[in-house]
Symmetry: C2
Subunit: 459 residues, 2 copies
């Protein structure tokens, strides 16, 4: 049985014989008895196994190494000790898999940097076990939220022939032999010989495709991996990450903000309910005050402020800025920080200057700003970026021309405005950034099982 | 409000004024009244809107084109007609988005081939609306099943530096300018200049990585896109598809079969419960007898037979085979068909000849077969492939050498057998094949939103 299920109904198992399979986190013993910290991965806390001299295998058991896989038979009893409510008095132990002496995960403190080097073993430690379980539970919270609100989960394609994001920013994908590329007469690569018969890329977003399905199903969301080529070595960038991109027809910018706020609260509450031990652990060892922060999100109404008013606020602040805030320009990390601290909670900043935003965002009546919104949260900065989409065909085409977006490959996208178009919008939530926010872990490399960053593609 | 929610509690809305937003599927009218088939995408069936001459906008409404987006105000009333229980007596109509005359989706029968060419509009038809909703609901069923059984959802990496599958079968990924590749002194591509500083590929499976997490969490599953380079133009092959790969520690081959059977029944029941209208539609228009087939899956116990006994059965059959069944060899489509028809339901075929299976499968005591299992289902052939994994370090290494699998990049995989290894196994379920099975749709291109196949990478 799973240790998680044991703890769910632990009273039912008191004084009963149980059989468990799992791994040894620690094995401490004296001449007459010993304790094994036993974990099967289904539950955050380890279960204490107690074995004593009476067992004929006592000597063998006392030599079992950290990391070994065991099948254990014993009786669940109330614990005499102070660290746990229950423990297992062992009657039989079978070693299913031994562990060698060079096993890197020993019961002591390991740095996160070291554990990144043994990424395939780090989920066996408390921190990473908690991080990746929260990751799983948060993913399910997202599916639950959208499915229960009539959304259709849409699988946007990863491979694309349209280089609408600019091929410089996208991974190229090929089946050709790169050391012997077939060439055309004018000495260019002959992509006709490639699997798709043309140049192929990896998309950095499923949004445009998502819009096509939103205009059929009203509400859709994507949830999948995204690959981008940014050559950026920061704590918040990875070249492969997961993203959620909902898209909603008949929804304006205020509606988008309502959904973002409701969704985020739903996820936070779901994770706090399902992973209380993990959240306590993060609160104690990773980010002091994490629980307060999350509880405040649940109980606050998110502030909504225009980019213009945000700049005014920043200009009036008695702060010696590194980057001077300016109307019509982007805001810096220090500004985001100030704003979320000023309002002491999550803040929606709306109506951004059009020149720093994407071509598909709806132009406001002022002709200068677009109906875009960024959600800024204390401690993590921008968590979600969204917008109402341009639903006027002529304005969209004009904006695409101004921004040199190739029209010919995107007629399926622009046509959505000719075939029963409607006001609609959506947003993108970086999943890893969400997990960092939920756990307090400050490096994206520590919330993805196998991170891919520049010059780093191990495992 | 969503039409889905309206139908959920339809009695509550009788004779009440409602406001809906959605699209026109059809608009038929006579001189004094007219009907609009109205669909907002949240519900399979369209809602009938009735408008009559009394409305001052009657002429305008009667000219509204198929495909247009509307906001409608009206009163929900019991329908006089026979096609529906309720309809909306319209009081106001606002056209949010007109539709041009060249709109390809008209209220008539379109071929699936034609609709593939306008893939971005096909979810607006009954068939594809049903297919992609079932796809979404089935995806959620999978998450529900695994999450409720203590599994951790594991995101395996898509990009990899290890070419363990043989680089010939994998997509290569690069940020280099393919028309001006940097070269080393010996005129080979200088991958040191590429983003990851080495050759990078797209993985065709998350299983090996999944095992690393299964040996920490006991039970994990992946669910993500998979890209393979097969140059194969069949109804069941695509170069991008989604796959589910669960991996379970402390689980033998019988345990794997138990899980596969329980999971498949869970998904079938979930989809039949949540999408009754869609399943009825498929049963009536796509695959006659689909509902019977699915109900039989729910109520049957899957047969378990060894590969050896299956070959005996085939040899004894009075059938003029195209491919003669042989012990020690693979079985053909015609054989799969015979076996599922013979047993009249899903069949597990176990203990396959080692030479036709992968290196990581556990060698049986006979030294000739491996603890592998394929699930064959009537009408679709192989739906799931799984195995117990080789947990003996020496046997695994020997098998890898025999099959020329490079050891040096996979030490993290083989080490799992040294660091508390245990008996474990898993399986792979092709998501599109499942959707084809659930809907009766027989071409993989029609169950993926934007299919990628050789020489086809549009949208």
């Amino acid at each position: 049985m799973d240790i998680k299920d044991l703890f769910k109904d632990i009273k039912d198992y008191e004084n009963k014989e149980i059989v468990l399979e799992g791994w040894v986190r620690n094995n401490r013993n004296q001449s007459n008895f010993g304790f094994i910290d036993f974990n099967d991965g289904t539950y955050f806390k380890s279960l204490q196994l107690v074995y004593d001299k009476e067992l004929k295998d006592f000597d063998k058991i006392s030599k079992i190494k950290v990391g070994s896989a065991l099948r254990v038979k014993g009786t669940l009893v109330k614990s005499q000790g102070s660290g746990q409510s229950h423990e297992v008095k062992v009657s039989e132990v079978e070693v299913l898999g031994d562990c060698t002496d060079d096993y890197p995960i020993q019961p002591k403190r390991h740095t996160r940097e070291f554990l990144r080097e043994v990424a395939y073993l780090r989920p066996r430690t408390n921190l990473f076990n908690a991080v990746f379980r929260v990751r799983s539970v948060a993913a399910h919270a997202i599916h639950e939220y959208f499915q229960s609100h009539n959304y259709v989960y849409f699988h946007s394609p990863i491979i694309t022939g349209a280089d609408c994001e600019g091929s410089g920013q996208m991974f190229k994908l090929t089946t050709l032999d790169m050391d012997n590329l077939p060439l055309t007469e004018d000495k260019k690569v002959d992509y006709k010989k490639d699997l798709f018969g043309k140049k192929a890329y990896i998309t950095g977003s499923g949004q445009l495709h998502g819009e096509t399905f939103a205009l059929a199903y009203k509400k859709i969301y994507t949830f999948g991996p995204t690959m981008r080529t940014e050559n950026s070595n920061t704590k918040t960038h990875a070249n492969e990450f997961w993203m959620i991109e909902p898209e909603i027809a008949f929804c304006d910018l205020n509606g988008i903000m309502d959904i973002e706020e409701e969704m985020l609260k739903y996820i936070v509450k779901y994770v706090m309910d399902k992973c209380p031990l993990e959240i306590d652990f993060f609160d104690q060892f990773v980010e002091k005050g994490l629980k307060d922060k999350l509880n405040k999100v649940l109980n606050s109404e998110f502030v909504r402020i225009t980019h213009h008013d945000a700049i005014t606020l920043l200009k009036e602040a008695k702060v010696d800025w590194e980057f001077t805030p300016e109307y019509g320009e982007d805001i810096a990390k220090e500004h985001e920080k100030y704003i979320t601290e000023y309002f002491n909670g999550p803040v929606f900043i709306t109506d951004w200057p059009k020149d720093i935003k994407a071509f598909y965002m709806k132009l406001n009546d002022d002709g200068k700003t677009v109906a875009a919104v960024d959600l800024e949260v204390p401690g993590a900065g921008e968590l979600i970026g969204g917008s109402q989409r341009e639903d006027d065909y002529d304005k969209l085409i004009q904006r695409m021309k101004e921004m040199n977006i190739p029209l010919e490959n995107l007629d399926w996208y622009t046509n959505l405005r000719r075939f029963g178009g409607c006001y609609h919008g959506g947003f993108g939530l970086g999943f890893e950034r969400l997990i960092m926010y939920l756990t307090g872990v400050d490096n994206i490399r520590d919330v993805i099982p196998y991170p891919r960053t520049p010059n780093n593609c191990d495992y």
